[in-house]
Structures are given as C-alpha cells and as structure tokens.
C-alpha cells in the first residue's frame, strides 16, 4: 500500500519542484531522475504483486476526502477562470453545474457514506502501472529534448516549460489515482484532474486554434464528467455506496438495477476515450506539442476512458441495453475512423484517427465483456500504448528535423534518418500487421466476436481492418523509399529522445515476443479474478510461431536491411528520357526537365472527412439518445415495479 501512496504522491512532489526550480539545467536533472525513479517504482510494484487476483486495502482517510473536495473546487475554479477570461459561456455553465453538483453531492449525500476499501491492486492496475510508469515517464524524458527544440523554434514567446513539465507529472499522478482508487469519489477527483490537465496542455501555445481546441476538449469531457457525477448520485441514493467493487458486484448480480449509472459511466468513459461523436477533441489536441499528444494517446487520458469501460466489462456481459450501446458506438467508431484515416496526409492526424479507431475496438470488446473479450481488450490497450507512443515520438523528432509532419514529405526518410525511420517502421508494423502485437489482439477479438455471434461487429472489423491495412501500408511505403544518398540529418537528435525511443522499442519487442508470458502472469489473473474463469483465446503454439516471425522481422529490419549489397547499381526506369536518375528528373514532352513525383492515394472522394464524419457523428448521437431513453425508461419502470 505504501507503494501506491508513493506512486501517486511522488509525481505530485516532482511537479511542485518543477514549478519552484525554473532553470533549464536543474529541470532537466529533476525530470531525468524522477522519470527513472517512477519507472523503477512501477516495475517494483509489479514485481511485488505479480499474479495477484486483487488485494483490497482497508483504508479510509478524511484527509483524502477533503483533498478530493478541494480538487473538485480547484478544478472548477480553473475552468471557470479560463471560461471567463476567454468568454465561453457554455463552458462556464457546464463548469458551474459540475462544481455545484459536486459540492451538493459531497456535503449533501456522500458525507455519511463510508467506503472502507479505499485502495486496491489487481492485475489490471498492474498492467496500467507498467503502461503509465514506463511509457508515460519515457515520454517525460523525451520532452526534455523536444521542448528545448520547441522553445528554440518559438523564441519570441514566453517560456512556459516549467508549467508544461509540472502538468505532465500531475497527469501521471492522476492516472495512478484512477487505477488504484476503489473509492469512486477519489477516482472521480483523479478523473477530473486528467480532464483539466489535458485542457491546459492542449492550450499550451495559446494560439487561437489551440485555445479553441482546448475548449472543445473541456466541453466534451465535462459532459462526461457530469455523467460520471450523475452515476455517483444514483449509486449514493440507491445503493448507499461509493465503493467501485460493490458497484461491479451489484451490477453483475442484478444488471437491471444499474442500467442508469452504467449508461452514465459508459458515456463518461466514451468521452474520455474520444469515441464518436466526441472524437473531435482528440483530433483538436494535435495542436499541442508532440509529447502532449503522445501522452494523451498512449498512456494517459484516453486509456483512463477505456480502463473504466474494461472495469465495467463484467456488467456489460450480463446487461442488455448498455452493452449494445457500447458495442455499437465502439464498432462504428472503429469502422468510420479507419476509413477516415485513409484520407489524411498529416501524420499526426493519421495517428489520431488510428488511436480513435483502436479505442473503438477496445470499447467494443469491453462492451462484449466475456473472458475472451476482456483478454483481447487488455492486449489492445498494451500494444496500442507502446506502439502509439513510439510513433508519436518518432513523428515529433522527424518534424523537428525535416520541418514537416506531412507524410508526403517523409519520402525517403529511410535514407535521411535511417535509425528513426526504422523505429517508425517498427511502430507502424506493430499497429497493423500480423504477427505483431495489435493483430494478435485483433485475432482474439475475432474469436470473441464469433463466440458471441456479434455479426454486425464482425463485418465492421473485417472492413475496418482492410482500411487499416491501406493507410498504414502506404505510409510505411513512403518511409521505405530509397533514392540517391541524401544527407543524414539525424545526428542532431537529442540523447533524451533516443533514450525514450529505445525504451519504447525494447518494450515493443518484448511485449510482442512475450505475449504468452504476459497473458499468464498479468492478463489471465485479472480476467479470472473478475469473471471466475479465464481462457487464452489463442493457443500457445500459434503465439510462439508468431514470436519467431516477429524476431525474424526485427533482425531483418535492424540487422540486414541497410547492409550494402554486392549488386551492380542500376538507375530507375524513366521511360528512357531521364536527365538525372538520382533525383528522378526526366525530359518531358516540351523537352523541359521535370521531376517524376508520386503521391500516395488519399481517396478523398471515397473516404473524405466531409463525406463520412457527419454520418458517423449523427448515428452515434442517435445511439446515445436511445441509450439514455432506454436507461431512464427501464429505471423508471423498475421503480414502479418495486
């Protein structure tokens, strides 16, 4: 239990230190040391509790209760301050509702409710600990170098880096609070901190666009926050408890009783996990410096959303309305966002759409809620976190060195930044091609969906996966191109950035190679602890066969691919009218030299945002509406019956 306290409080202390010590050198040292300590502590935490089926600590603290109230007030005050400053009356209204609602709840309803089991550790928390501790603090280290370049590019602006780093560490602390707190009021406090931290991080540059996108984020997530609060009200009034475990037990035994709070929590989880129609906030979050995107996409924020949904998985498995709601929204989000990613040329937007799509798949799996589905959802979370952070970090570094985040400009990155390009290629492969991690998880998903006869979802998975192949393969192809020998521009990449990349790559390869081990010691204990049984959807021999192929690919990519060959060098074919083969210049029909350029296919007429976004958004709005009507009607019907 001391470790839990350490993991939550230590980043907070560091955040405080970072605000006080504002010199670059001191800050760099603090961030390096603190990140390494958090990594070490997270690994130690996992080592001490490996294989656990859930330990609940008798822990109740008035201090933390008061701290939660204080956090709610501070969060509300911050949002109100900014909404007044930038004159956003909707945000102001939402913040006021939330603040008043929270205070009424804390003092009027929850004050007498005692939650004895305040903290807990189970295997899902351990997996999340590793993700937050290793990936999250890896990103903090990466930020050291990245933000130095970033500041150099924005010389004329105020140096807000101390606040930036402090927010990153507060974010980690809040995430630890979310995964270890069984008292839902404490959990809610952590939940709100992540909302407001990402609000501040997205608005970091204070450009008009950044501020607009930050407010979009806060509106959507406050809707989710209010839904969370509504669930708390219902729990306190109906069941007189704020114990998360109690809620799950009540839910699995009598799903009809929890339809309303479950729908509310689903909505809260979906807003955080950026499911359609709330996906626009995550796209808007791209204006922030890249480490922010990496943090939001991989280890924090959106993962808090799916963590909540996975936790509720056992309830979905036995409930009807909320389960269908979550499955359909998740499935549609996966399908539409995979299509939309095809039409994007901006690397960060492709990553964003792919994140949303994968979160959709995780959401859908959580909504199915069977043992195999939760197994699949957890592996999707693991691989997505690692691969996506690797990709964001690579794109961030590439952006600083080639001056663009446009995929078309990454032509021949393989020659210009040989090491970085191959890291990026590995990240992309993990995301979309078997037998790397994500596809193994998708395989398990398919097994689950067949077992539960989810035909609609199977079709969405089939078409969405095909689209996934298209948009990743064409990006991968761009990177692989080799023409001539341009200068290597990666010599100036910061050490901290390489270190973070190395952490991600090691994690990625280990995770891909050790799926059976992770399954045995971390995933299956969790599934067994909540559902009483656990099945590994894929047999060991197939997983080890995959491992062999993964290792073969890694060796090929990093060992063989850039070796010089003995082959005689030839020029590319330019219809016999070439002027300069190295730069692909040929003589056109007017006898003028012209460069042969090839752009990837973006198929805007088929998969453009203008065409698909409105359809997906409207369908998902309707689904949410139906879900809430269903929740209210069924709850009211139940009240009358009783």
């Amino acid at each position: 239990m001391e470790m839990i306290g350490f993991l939550i409080l230590f980043p907070l202390v560091i955040a405080g230190l970072l605000v006080i010590f504002r010199q670059d050198k001191v800050r760099n040292v603090i961030v390096w040391v603190a990140s390494l300590v958090i990594m070490g502590a997270s690994i130690a935490m996992v080592a001490m509790n490996i294989g656990t089926t859930g330990t609940y600590y008798m822990f109740d603290s008035a201090v933390i209760d008061w701290a939660s109230i204080a956090i709610s007030v501070i969060v509300g005050a911050v949002v109100i301050f900014y909404s007044v400053k930038y004159r956003r009356k909707w945000v102001l209204a939402l913040a006021a509702i939330q603040l008043v609602g929270t205070l009424v709840f804390e003092f009027g309803f929850a004050h007498d409710i005692v939650c004895l089991r305040g903290l807990y550790v189970d295997s899902l928390s351990l997996i999340m600990t590793l993700i937050i501790g290793l990936v999250g603090s890896g990103i903090c280290i990466y930020s050291i170098g990245y933000m130095e370049d970033f500041q150099a590019e924005h010389k004329h602006e105020a140096d807000r880096r101390p606040r930036f780093f402090a927010l990153m560490f507060i974010f980690l602390a809040a995430m630890y609070a979310i995964i270890f707190c069984n008292n839902m009021i404490w959990l809610y406090a952590g939940w709100e901190i992540t909302t407001v931290c990402s609000f501040l991080l997205i608005g970091y540059t204070r450009t008009e666009e950044a501020i607009a996108n930050a407010f979009r984020q806060i509106i959507m997530n406050m809707v989710g926050g209010i839904a969370f609060l509504a669930a708390l009200f219902y729990m306190a009034l109906q069941f007189n408890t704020v114990d998360f475990l109690d809620f799950i037990v009540i839910g699995t035994l009598a799903p009809a009783l929890v339809v309303f709070p479950l729908t509310c929590l689903s909505l809260a989880g979906m807003t955080k996990a950026a499911q359609m129609p709330f996906h626009t906030w995550l796209l808007g979050a791209m204006v922030a410096p890249t480490p922010t995107s990496a943090l939001l996409h991989s280890s924090t924020m959106v993962k808090a959303g799916v963590f909540m949904l996975i936790k509720c998985g056992p309830i979905y498995a036995v409930s009807f309305g909320p389960s269908i709601f979550v499955i359909l929204v998740g499935g549609l989000t996966f399908l539409f966002c995979s299509f939309l990613a095809i039409s994007q040329v901006n690397a960060k937007r492709v990553l964003a759409y792919s994140t949303i799509a994968n979160l959709g798949l995780i959401t859908a799996c959580a909504g199915v809620g069977t043992a195999e589905a939760i197994w699949a959802a957890i592996f999707l979370v693991i691989f997505h976190a690692i691969a996506k952070s690797l990709l964001f970090l690579c794109v961030g570094t590439a952006e600083h060195h080639i001056g663009s985040r446009n995929i078309e400009d990454m032509d021949s990155l393989f020659e210009r930044m040989p090491r970085l390009a191959r890291l990026m290629m590995l990240g992309i492969m993990i995301m979309f091609i078997a037998p790397f991690g994500m596809l193994i998880a998708k395989w398990a998903t398919l097994v689950t969906l067949i077992g539960t006869r989810q035909i609609a979802l199977i079709l969405m998975l089939a078409f969405g996966s095909a689209a996934t192949f298209m948009f990743w393969a064409k990006w991968l192809g761009k990177l692989a191109g080799i023409a001539g020998e341009p200068d290597n521009v990666e010599i100036t990449v910061h050490k901290s950035e390489w270190f973070a990349d190395a952490v991600m790559v090691v994690l990625a390869v280990l995770a891909c190679a050790l799926i059976p081990v992770i399954s045995n010691y971390l995933v299956e204990p969790y599934v067994a602890s909540v559902l009483g049984m656990s099945i590994q959807p894929i047999r060991d021999e197939n997983l080890y066969l995959s491992t062999i192929i993964v290792l073969f690919m890694v060796v090929m990519m990093f060992g063989v691919l850039r070796k010089k060959t003995k082959a005689k060098k030839a020029s590319v074919y330019l219809s016999g009218v070439s002027v300069d083969n190295e730069s692909r210049v040929f003589l056109n029909s007017l006898s003028q030299p012209q460069e042969a350029t090839v752009r990837n296919w973006y198929m805007d007429d088929w998969f453009g945002e203008a065409k698909l976004t409105p359809i997906g958004t409207i369908i998902c709005y309707i689904l949410i509406l139906i879900a809430f009507v269903w929740a209210v009607v069924s709850t009211a019907g139940l009240t009358i019956l009783l």
Binding site: D411, S412, F414, I433, A434, P435, W443, L446, V447, I450, R453, I455, L459, L461, A462, F463, S465, A466, A467, F469, M470, A473, K474, L476, G477, K478, A480, G481, I482, A483, R539, D540, E541, N542, Y544, L545, S546, I549, F552, M553, M556, V560, L561, R562, K563, T565, A567, K568, K569, A570, S571, V572, Y573, S575, R584, A596, T597, V598, N600, W601
Partner: protein
Amino acid sequence: METLISILITLGASVIFAIVGTVAGCLLSGLDRIISARMQGRVGPPLLQPLYDVRKLIAKDNVAVNGTIGTYVVCALVFTFIAGGIFFSGGNFLLCVFVITLAELMFVMAAYASRSPFSEAGAHRETLQIMAYEPMVLLLAVGLFMATGSFDLSVLPFLDQPILFSLWGIFLGMLYILTIKLRKSPFDLSYSHHAHQELVKGVTTEMSGKTLAQIEVMHWCENILYMGWVVMFFIWGNPISIAIAIVAFILIYLFEIWIDNNFARVKWQLVLKSTWIITLVLGGINITVLAFL
C-alpha cells in the same frame, strides 16, 4: 513440449511446401500458358517454359536499384513458404492469412523502396487490391470457425459434410476475389502477365535477375496456396472427397483462365466497389444465416 513439436512440424512443412509448392506451381503455370495459348488459337510454349524462364533469370547479372529491394523480396518469399506450410500441415487458418498478408506487405514494400514512379504506381494498386479482398478473406476465416468450431484446418478431413454446404455464400465470394489473388485479368491492376494492358511492369518494374526469379517462385507458391483455400471447401471425411477436390481444382482453374482471357483490365474503382459489395452481401448473409439459423 507439445507446443515445440507442433512449431517444428509447421516449420518442417514450410520447407516441404517450399519444394513441392514450387514444383506444383511451376507445372500449373506451364499448363496455364498452354491452355491460354490454345484459347487464343496459338500452340503455346512447352510445359516447362516457366522453369526455363526462371533459370534464365537466375543466371543473369546481379543488378539492382538499391540493396533493400532484394531483402524485402526474400522476406516475402520466406513468409509465403511459411504460410503454405501452415495451411498444408493443417495449422491455423487465420495465422496462414496473417503470414501471407505479411508476405504481401513485403512485396509492396519492395516496390516502394525503389522510388521508381512506375513501381510505386504498382505498389499503390497492390495496396488497394489487398484492401479490396481482405474483408472477404477474414469472413472466410470467420465462416470456417463457425462451420467447424475452430480455425484449425486439421479438422477438415474429419467433417461429416464439406464446409461448402454451410459456406456457399463465402465460397462464391472467394471465387470472385480469387481472380485478384491469382493476378488474373480483369483484376490484375498491379502486376500483369498481359503486356498490352500493363503500365511498364507494375510492382516489379525495378526488379531483375534473381530478385525477379524469387518473385516468380513466390507467385507459383501463392497460386497453389490460394487454390488450396478454395479447394478446401470440398474436403470432408470421405475418401471420395479427394477426387471431388481434384475435379473442383481443375474446373475452378479453367474458369479463372477463361476469365483471364476474356476480360480487359478494369479500373480500380470497380474492383473496390464490386468486391466490397459482394463481400457484404454474400459474406454478410452467409455468416448471419450461420449464426442465427
């Protein structure tokens, strides 16, 4: 221990497939050329002409635009062998699909790596083709699971009836995409045997000598593997099924040659639209019926 043995069996089967698949694929390709020629009123080359072609390619000088293309092609070839090994040793069908998709990806990467305008155009089209047929292949895996209770192909020879009876829609859908998979006109957008409708040589524009020979061998093995995917619909626990499967093999392949010789290459829009509609209608109806009836 069992795990280890079964992995070794799969790897062994891959080696055997590398030999048997190559030989069978070579003969099939030779027959294909003779029959095509007869359809066009020509005599055609000798049966072993494909072998002579490949032998000649191997003897050529080692010339390349850059070194990575060869590496990608070797990977593609190895993965094709493994996919065949998994399939014909009765392994997991989904794993077979995944590994052959990896091989396809390596093939696409090889085309991209040259940065040649023509082979990049081929790479784009190849990617599009993969996107077009992938849903149907996944539905085949789903259907197989629903019909037999697992992705394992080893159960096929013990079934009471061929999976064709329950997977009729998926079978027809597979026949449709088989034309793309076998790289037959009208769906040979990326890499065609018909010189008159090809943009230089699509994906393989910058490949020569040994590398091109490897592509050719890969293509032979792929053909055998994909024919296996459709012929498996006719296998069940009765010795006569072997004879039926052989007849089905011959008829289906003749049908593909006939299509190849009678249709001109179509635009990519039609490929994508028609395959997806067919997948959605035939595949969708088929698995819905399986799930709920």
